[in-house]
Symmetry: D2
């Protein structure tokens, strides 16, 4: 074959498998989104439409990659948690990393006009991505606590910053100066006393970020035929049909594990969220 004398160049492709038995977290970050938000007049301090677009792209990623059990988004970033035992693409790092980042980007551009219908996209937005391995459930939880704590810190700062600028008539330089060195309680107080804003009453989306979680729903049905008899809502997918294990031929009972992807803006630092969803961190 004509190509064969050159095919040796493939020997330079080195394997890049990720360590088994660890949780992969893939985080996507917007590239130069400060400029993107300026050029497309994103609302300050938060643009709900732009955040919903991020959520949409993240949901598309989770719909495609069933091994992602949880995602957390804030601002222009999204983190995806793969279940520990995932063997997606044989855990090849570049393959997983690029396919997910690419699909997220694709969905973001594809769906832009659905959320920012009166603001045509002027140029190509892009994202970077990285995969970090976390070996234990403790570190995974701390990772998500880190991101949600960051959401809180940034949002409190930005909310006050933009109140000072947009309502208080200050320059951005002045606003930064006012904020310098203030602690959380002082920011709460300034927000309330000067702008009548009770921070804790702001939308949970802004304060807590977006949590997308794959929820499992098990139902018993009367065999495979039942699958067609009970059409699923559009938002649900059948990810697996697992035999109940009983070898009795007579019974056609099946346990269908359906999963849905639910969006919430809830606390993920405390135990409650995780205790209610043991599947996320299970083997």
């Amino acid at each position: 074959m004509a190509g064969s004398k050159f095919a040796y160049v493939r020997n330079f492709e080195l394997p890049d498998p990720l360590l088994p038995g660890t949780f992969m977290i893939l985080r996507i970050d917007g590239h130069a989104f400060h400029r993107l938000s300026e050029e497309h007049n994103f609302a300050k301090p938060n643009d709900e439409r732009a955040l919903q677009l991020m959520d949409h792209a993240a949901r598309d990623v989770m719909t495609e990659f069933k091994d992602i059990v949880l995602a957390f988004g804030e601002s222009d970033e999204y983190s995806f948690l793969f279940r520990k035992s995932s063997t997606l693409y044989n855990r090849r790092e570049a393959k997983i990393l690029t396919t997910v980042t690419s699909l997220f980007t694709s969905s973001y551009v594809f769906n832009w006009s659905k959320y920012l219908s009166d603001t045509p996209l002027k140029y190509c937005p892009s994202f970077d991505g990285r995969i970090v391995l976390y070996p234990s459930t403790t570190v995974v939880r701390d990772y998500f606590s880190w991101r949600q704590a960051d959401t809180h810190i940034n949002n409190l700062y930005n909310t006050l910053f933009w109140a000072l600028v947009l309502k208080g008539g200050q320059t951005t330089t002045q606003a930064h100066a006012v904020l310098r060195g203030t602690v959380s309680s002082q920011k709460h107080e300034m927000l309330f006393s000067r702008f009548g804003i009770n921070y804790n009453e702001l939308a949970a989306r802004f304060r807590k970020g977006s949590v997308l979680v794959r929820e499992e729903v098990s139902t018993e049905t009367e065999g495979v035929d039942g699958l067609e008899a009970t059409p699923l809502p559009v938002s649900e997918e059948v990810s697996e049909v697992v035999s109940s294990g009983a070898p009795r031929k007579a019974s056609k009972k099946k346990v269908r594990v359906r999963t849905t992807i639910e969006l919430c803006h809830c606390d993920i630092i405390g135990d409650e969220f995780w205790n209610a969803r043991p599947n996320i961190l299970a083997d």
Copy 2:
């Protein structure tokens, strides 16, 4: 700071620098493009509009990343060559890999309607990417020879295959059977004798793929003011303004190195292309 007790999770982020002094080649491949081409009725064996869209996305990538000196595309794939001394993102693998793959994807979706105006995009296309390091100019040239030889082999096969199906009335199974075991000369002969197609007269784009090359244009100007006095054509960018080295203040002569990105469908297996462009493989 509230986030600090969790910030230790960053310790799990490991460095991933790529070996200096080597050529990086980043190849992007369409994910499940067989289905994409079916769903969007791409012309067979080649859809010129879809290939032009790929070229457009590749050009956008090269416009953004000046260290890419050459790119080669065929079908649903594109390879990008970075100059050997590139220090883009301190040569961090994941950062380079994802940013380029994401921008390519973004441009592909963003510009879809310019090329396939009567075929709305039905869902989100995506790409995977990988970076391979090549330590010498010989291997770099063999890499591109490998891809262009592959283009030829695939296109000759596909051209005859689809002629058999679309003009010869054969099923795809029959067409594959006819082609099995045939060598290049036999395919040429069948194309000509049965369908009157002279393979070598087909569009160079289909036979040779797309070559995007950064060309340097050096011009002398009368100092920095001249920069503004001579507006550049839109397709050109000033990538560098280099002093001529003479420390004499009196002289305002500057050598401006402008670069343009040129598209051709030429042979890159032989020496001619490379001899005419020593910059590509230079240090």
Copy 3:
């Protein structure tokens, strides 16, 4: 400095940190020990002196590297388990791997004459090594079970093989043929019926391999002076002196954590060994 124009070559040294929060297991294997054992007339199927020499080298490694909490040896190999939180050499892979492998080798050669006093070492023995990361206690235990099960399998085979050759007068080819396809119970039976050997009464060292475990001994003493007043037995080392945390100067109570390295030839597949030593797998 004269060297500075060349010092850029250090940029090619890339970082190689191992993922935190995982157990490192470093396994050393003899290089071409089949020949070594032939040339130095090692006893068959096991040479106790050679095994004791391996244990000695392993103990020297554990004495030097306090983060190694467990080691397991059989034949010409030894596995070392580092505690999960080890930050030895900032977890740089090559540094840890080579320093340990080198010290093991050094001790093996250095102490050869103590164990094989009538067999001068004829040439330089060497070992290879590798580090594998294990993210959970379950996998760590399965790793050591794997090695001990291997010890059993090999030893049962070799014991019968060498009985057939040395006592049964068979050639090695004949002996292999006799053994082909036999299961464990058949080997036990042949050993007993043909050679009067009760496998389970063979030395535990041969059947179970060597287990070196770091045992912690905590004692309260009357302050730092006490350290000198109570000389430690040679086999014990003070690995850490930890303040009890009370900042009161008056009290000089200290908790001294001394560790000793104990050798045994016990079962490490069952729970008993591990339950009695929770420190090994603790954080």
Copy 4:
């Protein structure tokens, strides 16, 4: 098999191939050799016997690993250059790195008494090692220039330092103070004026380090029988017997490529050494 339920732990062993088409340089460094030299009364500033022992260990490594074409040693370190096309152990990093480091260590301990016959080795010396990839001949040459320039700088400093201490009666603190900030020419001058030492007349071994180079010797012989008829000197090894390529059965002419390992203490910064030995950097 009893071991099979645990054998899955091997899945955690990840591949670690080194990029093909690059030069591997493996550098070994003594671990805590400052103490070793104190404890064993090494002569200052250089102990010739200890350096000869290092050379011996390096020669043993090169005798075992034919792909090493050059080595350079100074003080307690040695660098080994593998030919670019080496496929030793399929270029697995840990395997190459540990086997070489282990053999070097083994030889160092094994041969200690040959060189330091009146100084028994008190404890186990050890070495660390690392492999760095260099993609071009230029960088390889700069690497060796870096090491030899380092030899010069250190040796000039140490020669003067120990002259001040051993002959000038200064404390080590005083000697360091005298040397602080001095340039090369000042050190030469002080050595000569105060101690009558002409630096350039010192042994080349101390000023230039040790260079071990594999030299090829090709000879024609009368066929395979000739191999036995002409016994080789002990210091030479037949590394390859290559057919002359002529398919004529009648002729039994063979080209035997014998290699010897030569030690010198010559300059390797200039071109002369390399021009005379094009094989070192050849493909």
